[in-house]
C-alpha cells in the first residue's frame, strides 16, 4: 500500500491522471488474451472432465440402483422358484404317498392272493400226500391184514395155508369185497365159510 501510494504520488503522466474510464490499450489486450487462453483450457479440458465426472456419477448412481433392482428381482425370482419347488415337492410327496398307498394295497392284495393260492396249493399237496399215504397205508394194511388173517386162519385151521391162499388170492378178493361194501357185518361170520368153502 505504501509503495503504491509512493508511486501514485510521484506519477503525474497522462495515464496517471486520465479519467479512470479510459481503457489502457495493453490492459485491454491482455483482458482479451487472458480470457481467450483460459477459455480454451476450460473448453478443452476442464468442462469435458467435469461433465465426465457428472456422467460417471450419474452412471454410478443409476448403476447402483439398477444393481439393487436386479438383486431384488433375482431374490424375488429365487423365492418364487423355491416356492414352486416346494409346492412341486409337496405335490410329489403326496403323489408318492398316494402311489405307495395304492401300491401297498396292491401288494397286500397280491400277497393275499398269493397266500391264498399257496395255502390252497399246500392244502392240495397235503391232500395228495395224505391220499398217497393213505393209499400206501391201505396197501400195507392190506398186506398186513392178509398176512395176519392168513396167519390167524392157519393157526385156527392148524396148518399153513399160506402158500395156498396166496395162490388163490382169497384174501385179496375178500378185501376187495370189503372195500366194495358187498360184505356186511352179518355176512362176516359166513364169509370166511363161503370164502373158505369157495376156496375149499
Amino acid at each position: 500500500m505504501h509503495a503504491a501510494l509512493a508511486t501514485a504520488e510521484g506519477d503525474t503522466g497522462f495515464w496517471a491522471t486520465v479519467a479512470p474510464i479510459v481503457p489502457h490499450p495493453l490492459e485491454f489486450f491482455f483482458g482479451i488474451v487472458t480470457f481467450a487462453i483460459l477459455y480454451f483450457v476450460v473448453k478443452a479440458k476442464v468442462v469435458p472432465r467435469l461433465e465426465q465426472i457428472y456422467a460417471d456419477r450419474t452412471a454410478a448412481i443409476e448403476g447402483g440402483m439398477n444393481k439393487a433392482e436386479e438383486a431384488q428381482a433375482q431374490a424375488t425370482a429365487a423365492l418364487e422358484q423355491y416356492q414352486a419347488q416346494l409346492s412341486e415337492a409337496r405335490g410329489e410327496a403326496s403323489r408318492i404317498r398316494e402311489d405307495a398307498k395304492a401300491q401297498g394295497s396292491a401288494i397286500i392284495a397280491e400277497m393275499r392272493e398269493q397266500a391264498a393260492s399257496e395255502a390252497s396249493r399246500i392244502t392240495e399237496t397235503a391232500k395228495k400226500q395224505i391220499d398217497a399215504e393213505r393209499q400206501q397205508a391201505v396197501v400195507s394194511l392190506r398186506g398186513d391184514v392178509g398176512r395176519i388173517s392168513t396167519e390167524l386162519a392157519s393157526r385156527i385151521v392148524g396148518e399153513s395155508l399160506e402158500s395156498e391162499t396166496r395162490q388163490k388170492g382169497i384174501v385179496e378178493r375178500f378185501l376187495s369185497e370189503l372195500e366194495a361194501g358187498e360184505v356186511v357185518r352179518e355176512k362176516v361170520g359166513t364169509a370166511p365159510t363161503t370164502g373158505e368153502g369157495g376156496d375149499a
Binding site: I21, H24, I32, V47, I53
Partner: protein
C-alpha cells in the same frame, strides 16, 4: 468540536487522499499506452493459478470427489446449473457453459485479488478488463442471436410481438439502444465501478487510519475506529467481489438466453 475541526483541517492540509493515480501502476520502468502494468501481471497470474487449480482438481475425475474437486465442482455446478441451465434452458445451455464458467472464475479470482495480499489490487478496477469481458459477451450474444434468427430476423425479434403498429418504431429504437449500447456498457461499468470504488475505499480507510494513528492526539482514537471500519470494509469487499462476479455471469447468461430464445 473546535479541536476536532482544527485537527481535521490540519490533517487535510498534508494528507493526500487516494485518487485515480492510485490505479496507475506501471512496472519495470515502462510507461505509456503499452506499459506493462500491475493489473496485467495480476491477470496473467490469475490465468496461471486458475488453470493450475482447475486441471489439478479435475485430474482424477473421481466419482467420490476430493476436497479440491468438490470445491471446483461446487463452483462449476453454480455456473452450470444455477446460471446457465436455469436461464438459457436445458436444450442449448451446454455450449455456453465453458464461456460462462471461464467468465465467472476469471472475474472472481481477479476480484478476490483485491483483498488477498500481496496482490491487493483488483484487476477489474481497471476499466480495460471489464470492457474486454463485456465486449466478448456482447459479440457472443449478438452472434448466437443472428445465427439463430438470421441477421434481419434477429433485429426484428428485438421488438416484442403483439405491439400496436404505431409503437413498433419507437420500441425498436429503445430496444436497439439497450441491445447495442446499454447492456455492454452497464455490464462493464458495474463491475469496474464496484471494484474501483471498493479499492479506493479500502485504500482510503487504511492510509487515512494510518495517517491519523501516526499523527497522535485525539486522532489516534479516530484512526483506530477507521481501521476497524477498514476491517469491516475488507469483509464487505469479499462479498461484493463474489457478488459482482456472479452478477456479471448471470447477466451474460441472461443476454445470451434472450438472444437464443424463440420469442424475444
Amino acid at each position: 468540536m473546535s479541536i476536532v475541526a482544527t485537527a481535521v483541517s490540519a490533517v487535510s492540509a498534508d494528507f493526500t487522499p487516494p485518487g485515480v493515480e492510485e490505479f496507475w501502476q506501471p512496472l519495470f520502468g515502462t510507461d505509456g499506452p503499452w506499459a506493462i502494468t500491475r493489473p496485467i501481471l495480476l491477470s496473467v497470474l490469475s490465468v496461471i493459478l486458475i488453470t493450475w487449480w482447475l486441471l489439478a482438481t479435475t485430474k482424477k475425475k473421481a466419482v467420490v470427489p476430493s476436497r479440491g474437486q468438490m470445491g471446483t465442482e461446487a463452483v462449476y455446478g453454480l455456473v452450470r446449473n444455477g446460471v446457465a441451465k436455469d436461464l438459457i434452458g436445458s436444450k442449448e445451455f451446454m455450449r455456453f457453459v465453458p464461456l460462462l464458467f471461464t467468465m465467472f472464475v476469471l472475474i472472481l479470482t481477479n476480484n478476490l485479488f483485491g483483498v488477498i495480499p500481496p496482490m491487493s489490487f483488483s484487476t477489474n478496477g481497471r476499466i480495460a478488463f471489464p470492457i474486454a469481458l463485456s465486449l466478448i459477451v456482447w459479440i457472443v450474444f449478438h452472434f448466437v442471436g443472428m445465427k439463430k434468427h438470421g441477421f434481419f430476423g434477429y433485429w426484428a425479434s428485438l421488438v416484442p410481438s403483439g405491439l400496436p403498429k404505431a409503437m413498433v418504431p419507437f420500441i425498436f429504437v429503445l430496444e436497439l439502444i439497450t441491445d447495442l449500447f446499454t447492456r455492454p456498457v452497464t455490464l462493464a461499468l458495474r463491475l469496474f465501478g464496484n471494484m474501483f470504488a471498493g479499492h479506493i475505499l479500502l485504500v482510503l480507510f487504511i492510509t487515512g487510519g494510518w495517517y491519523m494513528l501516526t499523527n497522535g492526539g485525539i486522532l489516534v482514537i479516530a484512526g483506530g475506529v477507521t481501521w476497524v471500519f477498514a476491517l469491516i470494509m475488507f469483509l464487505f469487499e469479499i462479498l461484493v467481489e463474489f457478488l459482482q462476479a456472479y452478477v456479471f455471469t448471470l447477466l451474460a447468461a441472461l443476454y445470451i438466453a434472450g438472444a437464443v430464445a424463440d420469442e424475444h
